[in-house]
Amino acid sequence: MEPQHRQGILRLTHWQLWGPGLALTILCLGFSLVEPRFATLENLQVIADRAAIPLILAVGMTFVVLQGSIDLSIEGVMAACSLTVAMLILNSRSGLNLGSLGIALALLPGLLIGFLNGLLVTRLRVPSFMATLGAWSVAFGLAMLVSGGQPPLIQEQSFRSFGLGRTWAVSNLALVAIVVLAFGYVLQNYTRFGRYSLAIGGGEELARLSGLPVDRYKVAAFAVSGLLAGLAGVLGSARIGLGHVDIGLGQMLSTITAVVIGGTSLSGGRGGILQSALGTLILAVLANGMIFVGITPDLQKAVEGAIILSASLLATWRLRSPLRIVR
């Protein structure tokens, strides 16, 4: 991993970071120029806070995507775990009050759904796109059944104040996200799970030829993604104070967007956690910045599309070559 090697792995990630990094910088500079208040510490905190949950989702998604699969179930998982946590800790509906145990238990649905996704892909060999899409529908349906017209309100104050609070001027959620990011980085670069994920994405057949237990690591990746989506759902509930079926509304597309504009390839084998982190930041800064510089809501969708394009153009223009395969 040391930089001194001309083609060392970290070095490689470094120049892969160069593109999205530049895009992010330009975006920030641009916004600051138009609206100086954008560059205040207060707003940095807000951006960090906004990026927290997407970042957690992106970390999980990245491993799945590195392997060449995809996880569309995260919105359903978030909903399921949101309802679960709200029903398990002190709340307006269930009469249960399991406290921190309840919070831990609330992650299980995520882990479970992720695990099932993995089994569907590896055992039944259902394409991940379809397996996880189905899982989304099922998880979401279950969440709606539980919600049943009266979403459980969370009355556990410590949980609420964690969700809304800050530590050393950084929002607690952002801190959790940073920990998850570090955890993801180590996983990717220093463990078999991470390296084999890259291998599987680089060539699943070849990985099997080399005798790697491919299926096991695929299941693991979906499980991690499910677990982190669950965490995101739980944290989201801590923030808005109830079990909410729409807690993950729109997160699936934006997470995938973040991952790919970071430079991680959907066909697998290329990219990584840090890229996804940058992608997430680009989207967070964009959403925040568009409000700051006062782009009218009617146009924001279009502007976002345009920025996504230019950002990825900037990021990959120099990589173009006749034999470069892009799917």
């Binding site: 060999r125 394409p127 529908s137 790919v260 959907l266 009617d298």
Partner: protein
């Protein structure tokens, strides 16, 4: 042997599904209900057909539904003043926008996901900006109204969509282009080294998916007598689901158009049939999810795909 019957799996699954719903709710099998089913499937069919071509190339087009919505808005806004001509104009426009996406994908070598995600934002953003909310077609409806009709129990929209699919399928089989699409989907590098202009093929494919988005938008406008910026949002995933249920692989080069037709009908039965057999609608998403996955599990030909992604 197993190979021989493989292609018929999707059809089997579809028939089994229809039969099941039919036994619970006999009226479901009535001719007018079946023809209704066909009619309801027409928009998804158009989206799925365009998507199939892109998936065969190994790409994906997430912008189709948004582009369809834009076209519906464009038609609704201009039809009253400019007359029937705008329909062709709208189709030309959507093909052009599709081609533009293909161009970025092929020439700037951006992943199709990124380009079409951006497209998704752009098209729906523009539709919103020019229409704000849904626009009723105040005049000139007849230019697209024929799509809403029904002859000999066959809904025109369905006949139209099925014909469009048929034409594309035939061309893909007879033209060299078809062969190159599969080659590119299976192994783009070899395709390039065989002197195939992969870039052009991609641009063409996205132009076609753009065209089919346009056809879908036109059909929706005809079905709802209006255009709306969010009219088709909810059809993107069902249309891709349909292609996969048909047995076309997301990894490219495996599958085809006839399969997509079956996939679309399956999805339509799932969307409407579940309600018909009268299970508590609150459970619908769960049943839908399970059945959709089951259908794909039965239909994907595992022998052709070494790696499942």
């Amino acid at each position: 042997m197993r190979r021989a019957i493989r292609p018929f799996f999707p059809l089997g699954v579809l028939l089994a599904l229809v039969a099941t719903v039919g036994t619970v709710e006999p009226s479901f099998l009535s001719l007018d209900n079946l023809s209704l089913l066909a009619g309801e499937s027409s928009v998804i069919l158009l989206l799925a057909t365009g998507q199939t071509l892109v998936l065969l190339l190994g790409g994906i087009d997430l912008s189709m539904a948004a582009l369809a919505a834009l076209v519906s808005v464009w038609i609704a806004l201009t039809l009253p003043t400019l007359g029937a001509g705008v329909v062709l104009g709208a189709l030309a426009l959507s093909s052009l926008l599709g081609a533009a996406q293909g161009f970025l994908h092929a020439r700037a070598q951006l992943p199709s996901v990124i380009v079409t995600l951006a497209g998704l934002g752009l098209w729906s953003g523009i539709a919103l900006a020019i229409a704000h909310t849904s626009v009723p077609i105040s005049a000139g409806y007849s230019a697209i109204g024929w799509l809403d009709g029904n002859s000999f129990g066959v809904p025109h929209a369905f006949a139209f969509a099925a014909t469009a699919l048929g034409v594309l399928a035939t061309l893909m089989h007879r033209l060299p282009l078809g062969r190159t699409v599969y080659a590119i989907g299976l192994n783009p590098k070899v395709a390039i080294l065989s002197g195939i202009r992969v870039g052009r093929v991609k641009i063409f494919a996205f132009a076609v998916s753009g065209l089919f988005s346009g056809l879908a938008g036109m059909t929706m406008a005809a079905r709802t007598y209006s255009g709306s910026p969010s009219i088709a949002d909810s059809l993107l995933l069902p249309s891709i689901t349909a292609v996969l249920i048909g047995g076309t692989a997301m990894t490219g080069g495996v599958g085809g158009f006839a399969r997509t037709l079956i996939g679309v009908l399956t999805v339509t039965v799932l969307r409407i049939g579940i309600a018909a057999i009268g299970i508590d609608p609150a459970y619908e998403p769960i049943v839908y999810g399970v059945l959709a996955v089951a259908a794909v599990a039965l239909n994907t030909d595992r022998s052709t795909l070494f790696a499942v992604k």
